[in-house]
């Protein structure tokens, strides 16, 4: 994998409604480096600045101060092409199905590629490819997007961004309002995009458990600042701090820590059920075996 930095943020600040009673500092000196091909989870509760942050990454919002570099170029330079940036950094908003507008699913997915200046045929090709990759049955392509189920609509909306072939894919709470099955479908789809196409993916979520099993790196936002940044295991090690700001580590993290406190030797870095099971079985069967080996006098 290439180890180049696709996006660098340098002390980015954003202030909403400056100089009014409603002034809010949504981002506070945010500095980040996003490597090519990384799969990152951005976690924070409502109002932590995570949605504001991602809208800066494709230039939809402008920082009040600070710099953002895309492949080494300052996106606030006068000769920087913001439209080109938006082509290369795809952003899927929250409840993206609310932006569907065309009469057929196919036409809607073509909207992005057409805006990129592609020919009709080329745009169509891109749309086909994108719709196939989100796993929508082909017989639905020429139907109205408004007749689909919630989960299907959302997949169409994501296809609309994928068809633009972005290098970086950002998704703002792509599973909000979906049921568990719909949520897993979307997360699996995103993970596949990362795996198969080597896309850089940023996944915004407020659920640690959802992202823990997918991402390589977690950025925790709190009050407009980066509070923690590291691998899931590094981040969850701070489970007490996370809880203090209203975010919870996965249930098993707490479980393993509590078991250690009670004197059982288990792996506190386990974040998924599988890892926890393996560590527990090892610790418990080890204990049982050890107990068997100890010769207790007078008992046999």
């Amino acid at each position: 994998m290439r180890e180049s930095m696709s996006i660098i943020l340098d002390k980015v600040n954003h202030i909403y409604s400056p100089d009014t009673a409603y002034q809010i500092q949504a981002l506070r000196d945010v500095s980040l480096e996003i490597l090519d091909g990384q799969f990152i989870g951005i976690i924070g509760h409502t109002g932590s600045g995570k949605s504001t942050l991602i809208q800066h990454l494709n230039g939809l919002m402008r920082a009040t101060s600070g710099h953002i570099y895309f492949h080494g170029k300052d996106i606030y330079d006068e000769d920087f092409d913001l439209r080109e940036l938006r082509n290369r950094v795809g952003l899927v908003f929250q409840y993206p199905e609310h932006q569907l507008f065309e009469t057929t699913i196919f036409d809607d997915v073509c909207f992005g590629p057409k805006n990129q200046g592609l020919s009709k045929d080329e745009a169509g090709l891109r749309a086909f490819e994108a719709l196939r990759s989100v796993g929508l049955p082909e017989e639905l392509y020429y139907q109205s997007p408004f007749d689909l189920s919630g989960g299907q609509k959302r997949r169409v909306a994501i296809a609309g961004v994928l068809a633009m072939k972005p290098e970086v894919l950002i998704l703002d709470e792509p599973t909000a309002g979906l049921d568990p099955a719909g949520r897993d479908e979307i997360l699996d789809l995103v993970a596949r995009m990362h795996r198969e196409r080597g896309m850089t993916v940023l996944l915004v979520s407020h659920s640690m458990e959802d992202v823990a099993k997918y991402v390589q790196r977690i950025i925790v936002m709190n009050q407009g600042q980066v509070m923690l940044d590291g691998t899931p295991k590094q981040v969850f090690a701070h489970y007490k701090e996370l809880e203090a700001v209203g975010l919870a580590a996965p249930q098993v993290t707490y479980l393993m820590h509590e078991l250690v406190e009670r004197g059982l030797s288990v792996d506190t870095e386990a974040t998924t059920v599988e890892e926890a099971r393996a560590s527990l079985m090892e610790a418990l069967t080890g204990l049982v075996a050890a107990r068997r080996d100890i010769h207790v006098p007078g008992k046999d």
Binding site: Q55, G90, H98
Partner: protein, 270 residues
């Protein structure tokens, strides 16, 4: 950008204007609008200006909130002023080719701009100091006599109050959809008028769909809370005139009288 529209946004504060009966504010706004069109001459203009700024001051709403509402109608304001400036017949001041600016035109343009600005400011005071529900109550009560001749006063009032509540929500939604389409490469800014209108489709279709969905949801929520129109309904905040309302009416009528007096008694244009 779209967040700047203040019309229809309540600004909570503890002022005597906030406490006035909404009917007073409704009639007051009407009286003020009438006065703007009756007024002639510098003295009347001075009185209208003074009155407006006193009320703004007393309302405790920061001035910049009022001004923000003006930005939205800037274009309308300019168009009106330009039309008046060039199309009023009279003694030409400056003439370039077939277009000429007349003295009357200049006066008209300035007066029209002032009138419109004051009209928006005056109406903004009402909407900024009255909750939509109070406003609706005020209108409902003031217009109640019309229900005897079959006008669905309650329904209209309810519709208006809901429209006002959802304006900020829909504005936010517009902003969101706009950004989402911009992320897909949509362009809302360049091109000629026709092109721009066409470019609005990806914004308007989702907006309409969302508005209908909200309307549907809201209707169900209202029904679930036993809403059945105006029949048998009581009021949490029934309208009762207090002493200050009478005083306010006197003040308003006094003001109107002064403006009319200026028109009749003082010679104009001055």
């Amino acid at each position: 950008m779209l967040r700047d529209i203040t019309l229809g946004q309540y600004y909570p504060a503890d002022s005597i204007v906030h406490k006035l009966d909404p009917r007073v504010k409704l009639f007051g706004t009407m009286i003020y609008i009438v006065s703007l069109f009756v007024m002639r001459g510098v003295v009347a203009l001075g009185v209208a200006t003074l009155f407006l700024f006193c009320v703004i001051r007393v309302s405790k709403v920061p001035f910049r909130f009022m001004v923000r509402g003006l930005k939205a109608i800037m274009v309308l304001l300019l168009i009106t002023a330009v039309f008046n400036l060039f199309l009023t017949p009279g003694e030409p001041l400056v003439s370039v080719w077939k277009i000429s600016v007349t003295e009357e035109g200049l006066t008209n343009a300035v007066m029209m701009a002032i009138r419109l600005t004051f009209l928006i400011l005056g109406t903004s005071i009402m909407t900024l100091t009255t909750t939509p529900n109070q406003l609706t109550d005020g209108m409902e009560k003031a217009l109640m006599p019309l229900s005897k001749v079959g006008v669905p006063v309650h329904a209209i009032a309810m519709m208006m109050s809901i429209a006002l509540r959802f304006i900020p929500i829909l504005i936010e939604e517009t902003d969101k959809i706009m950004k989402a389409q911009m992320a897909r490469g949509a362009d809302f800014e360049s091109g000629n008028l026709l092109r721009r209108v066409k470019n609005m489709i990806p914004l308007l279709v989702p907006l309409f769909i969302s508005a209908f969905r909200r309307a549907d949801d809201l209707a169900m929520a209202m029904e679930a809370r036993c809403y059945q129109g105006g029949r048998g309904r009581t009021k949490m905040k029934p309208l009762r005139y207090a002493g200050r309302d009478g005083a306010a009416y006197l003040l308003l009528l006094g003001y109107l009288a002064v403006v009319i007096a200026c028109r009749i008694l003082l010679p104009w244009p001055q």
